[in-house]
Symmetry: C2
Subunit: 273 residues, 2 copies
């Protein structure tokens, strides 16, 4: 007997929408969940298998499982309704009112959610990602003129994942500039960044957290010492202040929040939806 409630995300495609949607609702409840994804449930047999699995989970725990469904095919949706579980059917709920508002019928076919399969969008994501990777740390300063935004921060403050997320999710060209010891010492904006100062966004992080992250890479190093982290973040924040750069403290932000914040603050051109 488990005390966690079984939650299923079922979809005839990747399941990403069902997961995002369901998780977002569940964060509203102090609930211990056991999440299970059932992507590509796209045939009567697959639906029957899913029903078996869902009901087995219900019997094992003694509580009706919760099911978030984004199955698009009407026949499969009907089939799923027989399951002994609480089903939240995303398409049933929204498609009918949308049809009436738009005055058109929905295709009821498995479409291209995530719209990334079209070559233009695919190329854009890949180009943006390659750009993020090639313009990544290591002191190689290049192609900043192509950047929609340049993230500035000390080592391990969260620049790289944020750049890659901006590329993959939004098609934004994000470069990054790691602040060097010299930069921190001089307390001035590095020469190479000056022409791009209107495209800069700065990151900081609490020194305790930075020390922890760095220690995973290089335990017991000066680099990872709390003292060094305190020095670097204090100098960096002083610089941001003086140069009036927009900035975020990444300590308790998710990559998603940080990316959305940067886009909004810098009014970045969003290239993918």
């Amino acid at each position: 007997m488990s005390s966690a409630r079984s939650v299923f995300f079922i979809s005839d495609r990747t399941g990403i929408t069902a997961e995002t949607l369901g998780q977002s609702l569940l964060t509203q409840f102090p609930l211990d969940c056991l999440p299970i994804s059932l992507p590509f449930t796209d045939s009567p047999q697959a639906v029957d298998d899913a029903i078996t699995r869902i009901e087995a989970a219900g019997e094992a725990s003694g509580e009706r499982p919760i099911v978030f469904s984004t199955i698009i095919d009407a026949g499969l949706r009907n089939r799923l309704r027989r399951v002994n579980a609480v089903v939240f059917d995303f398409f049933d709920t929204f498609i009918a009112p949308l049809e009436s508002e738009l005055g058109m019928e929905s295709s009821h076919t498995i479409g291209r959610s995530h719209g990334m399969a079209d070559p233009g969008a695919y190329n854009l994501r890949i180009d943006a990602m390659n750009y993020a990777l090639s313009a990544d740390d290591g002191g190689v300063v290049r192609h900043y003129e192509q950047a929609d935004v340049v993230l500035v921060g000390v080592s391990r403050s969260g620049k790289t994942p944020t750049c890659i997320y901006l590329a993959l999710h939004y098609g934004i060209f994000a470069a990054n500039y790691p602040l060097t010891d010299d930069d921190l010492l001089s307390g001035r904006l590095p020469e190479v960044l000056r022409p791009h100062r209107h495209h800069l966004y700065a990151l900081t992080i609490r020194p305790e957290r930075l020390a922890q992250i760095r220690a995973e890479r290089r335990p017991n190093s000066r680099y990872a010492s709390l003292r060094q982290c305190q020095y670097e973040t204090a100098r960096a924040e002083g610089l941001y202040h003086q140069e009036k750069l927009p900035w975020s403290d990444t300590t308790t932000m998710s990559i998603e929040e940080l990316a959305a914040t940067i886009i909004q603050t810098c009014k970045l051109p969003r290239r993918l939806y």
Copy 2:
């Protein structure tokens, strides 16, 4: 006058859920949309600004805009209801039935959708991403024993973005192995991959598309010639066949679809929800 229908995604957080949800519904309709995101709409003033903006779009186009909302705060949701637009309110629709099923009240506070702000999940994503980057192309063969999966394919067949997506979205450790000329010539599984053959997943791509992608990097090169691309993909596919590797043709798949397919086929351990 624009013929595209204005669609707004409004949220008191990043807006990612509203976008995913709304886009997924809209793919069901042959509709020309003008999508606009309004993230961080988290105060009465921000809601009023959003209403002004939405109604202006409606007046400009002569059609009521469509609004997908994931605003969590009950007061702000009420405030938004005054807008002259078609509002699909995600929380209104699902929270009440969920409360009654769970026998508890929702917190009605802005929660942690995307759950990435907790340090464990954050570290895992970053570790997995650093792994994907360090184990990336360039012939450096290392740490395959740590890999949940190793993607195999010719240059530019989609390995790197897929590895990074698997890391960021699912916390999966994905390495990649670019097939070399020697590998293709020998027609056998490279020595270094043999110990990991149960963790391999192969990618292929249509030669016309590959030539197009490569031409963007190195126009008019032998590398980008259709003939070379035909040779490489044919040899690679022969190898996959012979070695009975699971594989996908990435030509018309989105990164999301590919990632979900690999996870399902290889039964990979999903570390993030």
